[in-house]
């Protein structure tokens, strides 16, 4: 008859109501390759009512192996005491009578405060549509007048002399500060917890990346359906680039319709293979895009536009663009308007510079005429997007 198994650890995860059991299979005392069966019982309350029975199979390897088993409770573990015990059966042919070992001593969940009170699970997050059981654990002799979910009272189920429960079905999305689950006692005191009900993150839509200055790459996307989770439970984004292996976590404002994240341009790297990772306490997803940043140039607004006259029909325009465009040619468009004539657009292409000023010349203007100029720029080869227009600059040509 096999030796009584020894439980090494019984570890609760209260946030997920999961128990992890670890025990040694004592395999070193048996020949290699035998079948071993482990019967595990989970019991509840001081009356040790059996809740779950499972038989777990393993192969002995003539070494002592640590085996592990997980169990998720339908009730928060805090609602009442939980115990686990285990016994084993070794399928050995030539040792006489085969039988189950004795049960191990019942192990109780550690970290549970037997005298504790409160409503459980504590401050947890679930997906919309979930069914959730809450229990109100209280001191002996204390009477509960009611238990409410949000503002609605729910029928109570007595679990033990110190624990009552309610069951919420098909939970709907909670407010920003969560839905309160409140347990009222006859002495007016309250205990409670907060449930956050939201959605797993949506796959980001319209993921697009461009560079304004060949120093930073700006990726933007639409978050899709709001998760309904905020603050530290909000949906978080990170940008990972496969080629260089760099990962950047994005600071976003969850209330915005369009979200953005910056990634540094890597010297001598043109192609970027991005994965936008998205996660919140309910789930995770991702979106990806590959871009050649020389084909995704969206320059910043041209600044410091000034005009200087050459003669009565020609002028020079000077402007500055913040960015390093030395690797590409720029195409800039000058809009020319004057009182009585139609607006004209004049395109100029020029080599890009590094944090530099640019100059354009306009000819065939009318003498002694008041003009209004503004300029915008883009990449000359592989046009992607114009910059915004610069401020308008007025100039009157000299007399002929």
């Amino acid at each position: 008859i096999p030796v009584t198994p020894r439980i090494l650890s019984l570890t609760p995860d209260f946030s997920t109501s999961t128990l992890n059991l670890k025990w040694s299979d004592n395999g070193s005392v048996f020949p290699y390759g035998l079948d071993a069966f482990w019967q595990i019982w989970v019991l509840r309350k001081e009356t040790m009512e059996k809740v779950t029975e499972v038989t777990y199979h393993s192969k002995l390897t003539h070494e002592d192996i640590i085996l592990s088993w997980n169990w998720t409770s339908d009730l928060p573990l805090e609602c009442m005491s939980h115990y686990v015990k285990i016994r084993c059966y070794i399928n050995v042919t030539h040792f006489g009578l085969k039988d189950w070992s004795d049960w191990s001593p019942a192990e109780v969940i550690p970290d549970m405060d037997p005298s504790g009170s409160g409503v459980f699970p504590l401050d947890t997050v679930v997906a919309v549509g979930s069914d959730v059981t809450f229990c109100c654990v209280h001191e002996e002799g204390q009477n509960i007048t009611n238990m409410t979910y949000g503002s609605k009272p729910y029928p109570m189920i007595q679990l033990s002399s110190r624990s009552n429960a309610i069951r919420v079905l098909n939970a709907s999305a909670s407010d920003t500060s969560g839905t309160n689950v409140v347990c009222r006692f006859n002495n007016e005191m309250l205990e409670g917890t907060v449930l956050f009900v939201g959605y797993a993150p949506d796959i980001p839509q319209n993921l697009s990346c461009e560079t304004p200055n060949f120093q930073i790459i700006k990726c933007t996307w639409k978050p899709g359906r709001p998760s309904g989770l905020y603050g530290k439970r909000r949906t978080k984004y990170s940008l990972f680039e496969r080629t260089c292996g760099k990962n950047v976590s994005c600071e976003v404002n969850e209330m915005n319709k369009e979200l953005a994240c910056g990634f540094p341009v890597i010297p001598d790297q043109k192609i970027y293979d991005f994965i936008l990772g998205v996660s919140n306490p309910i789930g995770q997803t991702e979106s990806s895009v590959v871009v050649d940043i020389t084909q995704r140039v969206h320059p910043k607004t041209p600044e410091k536009l000034t005009v200087s006259g050459i003669n009565s029909t020609s002028v020079h325009l000077h402007w500055f663009i913040n960015g390093s465009f030395a690797e590409i040619r720029l195409l800039c468009q000058i809009e020319i308007s004057s009182g009585h004539s139609e607006q004209k657009l004049h395109n100029i292409s020029m080599p890009g510079g590094k944090l530099s000023s640019y100059i354009g010349q306009l000819n065939e203007l009318h003498p002694y005429t008041k003009y209004r100029f503004r300029v915008r720029c883009s990449a000359a080869d592989h046009f992607w997007r114009w910059s915004d227009w610069s401020r308008v600059e007025e100039y009157t040509t000299s007399e002929a």
Partner: protein
């Protein structure tokens, strides 16, 4: 010269008290509005019974009329310093729990925190006028230390309700205390009392 100095100090004190009473009145109405918004946004019943909040000095005091001016000012100052720490903690918790989702409530909390800080400074001015030493912040912080973190979110919400309720009570008491300060102590002739405020 002593007479002139005495008179000017009394005038300064009256002015500080009058301004303090107005500050307390404004603070009280803002706190009452904030209390309603807070209860509603946190899904709480505004009349929910809340245990005495640790770290919050009760506004109700026995034998109120026997207190000296200095006692009044010192108790007020200790209270508003405690409220300043508690409101700062509430604001931090608000940011952590809600982020940008309820910016309006965050702004209202920050506005009340500002008023509480201003009122504490005002009380320090009055204490200096009484040529009384103003207790250092460090002494008080060591004594009380930062308010303990509630262990659950619901407890955190309830505590916020308790803090705001007590602050509203304190604003009423402070106005009464300051009005009491402007009354001449027995035997020094009467002075016109200040208009009733909250």
């Amino acid at each position: 010269m002593a007479g002139a100095d005495g008179a000017s100090t009394a005038l300064q004190r009256r002015d500080l008290c009058a301004r303090g009473i107005r500050l307390a009145g404004k603070m009280r109405s803002d706190v009452v509005n904030l209390l309603e918004a807070y209860a509603e946004r946190q899904g709480l019943d505004a009349s929910a019974s809340v245990a005495a909040v640790e770290g919050v000095p009760p506004a109700a005091v026995e034998r109120w009329d026997e207190q000296t001016s200095t006692q009044r000012l010192l108790e007020n100052l200790a209270a508003y310093r405690a409220f300043r720490a508690l409101l700062a903690q509430m604001l931090e918790q608000h940011r952590e729990q809600l982020g940008e989702a309820d910016a309006a409530l965050g702004r209202a909390l920050a506005a009340v925190l500002l008023q509480v800080s201003a009122f504490a400074y005002h009380l320090e001015e009055l204490l200096r006028l009484e040529s009384r030493g103003v207790p250092g912040e460090e002494e008080e912080e060591e004594e009380d230390g930062l308010p303990p973190q509630p262990h659950s979110l619901f407890e955190q919400k309830l505590r916020g309700l308790g803090v705001l309720r007590e602050l509203a009570q304190w604003a009423v008491r402070s106005a009464r205390d300051l009005r009491q300060l402007t009354k001449p102590s027995p035997g020094t002739g009467s002075a016109p009392s200040l208009p009733e405020s909250p």
